[in-house]
């Protein structure tokens, strides 16, 4: 399908089906798209039905990533809906022999102004195809006339979630379904020598034991039987150890000196050529240097990844919570050695997804296992340990900053050097390599894709490395480091989390050196009015008290600020954290986030994304660090990888700045960078400890406290 028909269909009852080309991952995309379609078509919101992405009929919109969906797919749905409306009105006008201006649309009915004639969308189209391309210059509604876009839609999909009818992929239950589990190697690079198949095959309910090289899995009639068999398989298998990982204790030194490539970043994008060293300009009065770092983090979805697969006649149907049904289809076909047309991927929602987690990998697991049992849908869910130990992590980062102030307290020279591994390891179909986990373990393995430094505006490592501030001179360098010890890929915000943490912490260090209030210091270096507006809005909401922030307060409380515009072109976000520090323990009392994402589609959805963004970023910053040893990740559950809990979360306030007529932008990643900086700056205000090393544990706070007296 193409044109209007790829985006929507008018059903016989007048309901509108919208065909998702991106996917819902808990970010509220379905609701926002339904609002946009309902608005342009003038139908009630409740009459829009969202159809999940499916390679059999969806448009290929690649991955749901980068906070792009509302901007790209939202605009596509808007134009498709406006085109559909235009076509329908034109058709009725032709049939009745009247001018289109003589007609109006009310709640899915095309009516004659001042007349009695009317025609319902359903009666007119009744499931028929439009067979028309999107109209290039179609007139969309004037944003001033919006009634549905901009209205807070609350709880639209909540009833199912509170009554157990959520239909997550983990809940999918198909006729004849059986259960699979995969037995991952005990270490990252271990090789399977032998497994006691006979013992496994005698276990109750076991239908198949699948081994292909070091890929090992079992299928059983019942889920608990598959789990029991996988435990026995683990116990009754022999594995050969391979090269150990480099020691985690020296991670940041490995990053600083690892092999790779250094690239200047100019206007947000890397450029080839010489990379010079930082220097101190002649007009510098003060020059500061600081080093910041962030460890590996996990996506750690609450629901371990799951997939179903069923083979019939050399074709496989896969149900997956992937972020991209088409890229996954290509990557699966390559590993399975079949034509892409033999693979169909249907999206089913999973547990919250914050980037490239195990969703794609478990889809391959299911397809590999199901091949042993054609005609039966095989459901595979990873165990908690599988998810923690085998999903791709967010990349560790090391940042070295240097900046110089002139006599007026203005930054005249700015240097940002960031070292990191790739932030992009998603599956894609390409010759001779695969980013799907099980592909590395097969008898004829496909090696992982060799990571390369990404290009483009605000790509992974250099995402938000180039700040929005106006500086007389800036030097931004990305140091791509090739050999990542742990598997890494896209985690919410990618490099923006570490880059903005460093930039915005350093801005506070410079503000102190310039004897300036941190808010005023930022405004001094900003020309962008929308940026200034979010900063001021956050400050007003939080009750920011202006003054030089010298570090430390009588009651151990402090406020700190962080700001960025995601990728310098999406949502603006300013975050203010309020903390109290007691004996090195940070009590995060409040987070205020002010944001401008252009024209707001669903204020409640936007607030929800921002709230979730600041809380998750706060969790990364306070609690989280992937622990690993010679054989892989040792953070394998919620005790060894703690996250922020209900008795630790702060009060969260959002301020939404609506910009009618401005393009709507995604906001799901906007707060990831500003939040850690706001927290570090707040801790400094509270107790004088300048934290540059995430996570902010109590021993680190105590070690950073200024010497008393």
């Amino acid at each position: 399908m193409n044109g209007i028909d790829a985006a929507l269909r008018i059903e016989e009852d007048g309901c509108v089906s919208i065909f998702m080309s991106k996917v819902e991952v808990g970010q509220g995309l379905k609701i926002a798209l339904a609002q946009i379609a309902a608005e342009e078509l003038d139908v009630d919101f409740s009459r829009v039905c969202i159809v999940r992405a499916d390679t059999a009929f969806s448009a290929d919109a690649s991955y749901t990533a980068g906070s792009n969906s509302i901007q790209t797919v939202g605009e596509w749905v808007r134009r498709a809906a406006a085109s559909a409306r235009h076509c329908m009105v034109q058709q009725v006008a032709d049939a009745w022999g009247v001018d289109v201006d003589a007609l109006c649309v009310e709640n899915g009915w095309i009516r004659e102004r001042g007349g009695a004639r009317k025609m319902g969308y359903g009666e007119l189209m009744g499931g028929k195809a439009f067979n028309r391309p999107l109209i290039d210059d179609v007139r969309c509604k004037d944003p001033q006339a919006y009634r549905i876009v901009g209205r807070a839609v609350r709880g639209a999909d909540m009833v199912a979630k509170v009554t157990g009818g959520g239909e997550f992929i983990q809940d999918l239950d198909l006729p004849g379904m059986v259960h699979g589990r995969v037995v991952r190697p005990p270490g990252l690079h271990h090789i399977l020598i032998d497994v006691d198949r006979a013992a496994l095959e005698q276990m109750p309910g076991v239908l198949a034991v699948v081994r292909d090289g070091s890929f090992l899995g079992v299928i059983a009639e019942r889920e608990e039987q598959a789990i029991a068999a996988s435990a026995v398989a683990r116990a009754r298998s022999a594995w050969k150890r391979n090269d150990p990982l480099p020691p985690s204790e020296s991670l940041y030194e490995q990053l600083r000196h690892g092999e790779g490539q250094a690239l200047r970043v100019v206007d947000g994008a890397p450029v080839e050529g010489e990379v010079d060293e930082p220097r101190v300009p002649p007009d510098a009065v003060k020059t500061l240097r600081a080093r910041y770092c962030r460890p590996f983090h996990l996506h750690a979805s609450l629901g371990p990844s799951a997939a179903l697969a069923e083979w019939r006649d050399d074709s496989v149907l896969v149900w997956s919570h992937t972020q991209g049904v088409f890229p996954l289809r290509g990557a699966l076909a390559q590993v399975l050695g079949v034509d892409v047309d033999a693979v169909r991927v249907q999206h089913v929602e999973g547990s919250g997804c914050y980037g490239h987690n195990g969703a794609d990998d478990v889809a391959l697991d299911a397809a590999l296992l199901a091949r042993a049992l054609p005609g039966r849908p095989v459901r595979v869910q990873w165990m908690r340990e599988d998810e923690h130990a085998w999903e791709a992590c967010g990349s560790a980062m090391l940042l070295e900053m240097q900046a110089s102030l002139d006599a007026e307290g203005v930054i005249v020279d700015w240097n940002h050097d960031v070292w990191s591994y790739t932030h992009s390891g998603r599956p894609r179909a390409a010759e001779g390599a695969s980013n799907l986990l099980a592909a590395w373990h097969l008898q004829k393995p496909l090696p992982r894709h060799q990571p390369r430094p990404g290009g483009g505006s605000h790509g992974g490592i250099h995402r938000n490395a180039d700040p929005l501030y106006s500086f007389a001179r800036r030097r931004v360098v990305k140091h791509f480091v090739r050999d990542n010890p742990l598997r890494v890929s896209a985690l919410r915000g990618l490099g923006a989390y570490g880059n903005v943490f460093a930039i915005e912490s350093f801005m506070d260090e410079l503000a102190l050196a310039a004897q300036c209030d941190p808010l005023d210091f930022r405004l001094r270096h900003l020309d962008d009015e929308r940026a200034c507006a979010v900063l001021k809005a956050a400050a007003e909401k939080a009750g920011w008290r202006r003054g030089v922030q010298r570090g430390g307060s009588e009651d151990g409380r402090g406020m700190g600020l962080g700001f960025a515009q995601y990728k310098n072109e999406k949502c603006y976000a300013a975050v203010i954290a309020q903390v109290q520090v007691i004996d090195g323990h940070i009590h995060l009392e409040r987070l205020v986030v002010a944001a401008d994402a252009g024209q707001i589609v669903n204020p409640d959805g936007m607030a929800n994304q921002l709230e979730g963004g600041v809380v998750q970023a706060a969790s990364w910053t306070l609690c989280e660090q992937v622990r690993y040893g010679p054989w892989g990740i040792e953070s394998r559950d919620w005790d060894t990888y703690p996250i922020l809990r209900f008795d630790q979360v702060p009060e969260v306030d959002t301020v939404l700045i609506d910009r009618p007529g401005q393009p709507s932008k995604g906001c799901g990643e906007a707060a990831q960078g500003p939040t850690p900086a706001a927290m570090a700056n707040a801790v400094f205000a509270a107790c004088g400890a300048r934290l540059r090393d995430i996570p902010f544990t109590a021993p680190k706070v105590r070690a950073a406290l200024p010497l008393s007296g």
Partner: protein, 156 residues
């Protein structure tokens, strides 16, 4: 073959086909089709699998089925219906207290158990009661609001 085990779930006697040592969660989800309780960790660490057992919110991911025999089990499906939600369920809907919703059923169960025991909890008591529930999307402040809303409504 293992003998049939009978459980009392959401007010009815139900038969399940698991062995006595199998965690209750699998019997609820796979034998009885009650998919509200979720597998999150299998370690009693995250709360996604909680159900009410004799009024207490307990994780079902490790508890052997035999331990649940003879006890009153209530899952999120048994609290209310789509047309007639339990006040806690209604409060979660009204506050849009979720993003993905994977942790939601467990949280609703946790909140119901809390409000049964303590109809007027302080914020700190709500936080403490839900401290063994995890939410990865960061919907915490909405969940806390929903519990306060439900408490207010149930007191009326």
């Amino acid at each position: 073959m293992s003998e049939t085990i009978r459980l009392r779930v959401n007010g009815s006697e139900r038969e399940v086909g698991t062995g006595p040592e199998v965690p209750l969660l699998y019997a609820l989800r796979n034998d009885l089709g009650l998919k509200g309780a979720k597998y999150g960790c299998g370690l009693e660490q995250c709360g996604a699998c909680k159900v009410l057992i004799d009024g207490e919110a307990l994780p079902s991911c490790k508890m052997p089925v035999r331990e649940a025999v003879g006890r009153e089990i209530v899952t999120v499906e048994g609290l209310g219906t789509v047309g007639q939600l339990h006040p806690v369920q209604r409060a979660f809907v009204e506050e849009s207290a979720a993003q993905c919703g994977y942790c939601t059923a467990g949280l609703v169960i946790g909140a119901v158990a809390l409000l049964e025991k303590n109809p007027h909890p302080t914020n700190a008591q709500i936080g403490a009661a839900l401290a063994r529930h995890l939410c990865r999307c960061g919907a915490h402040s909405r969940v806390l609001k929903a519990v306060r809303r439900a408490a207010a409504e149930m007191a009326r």
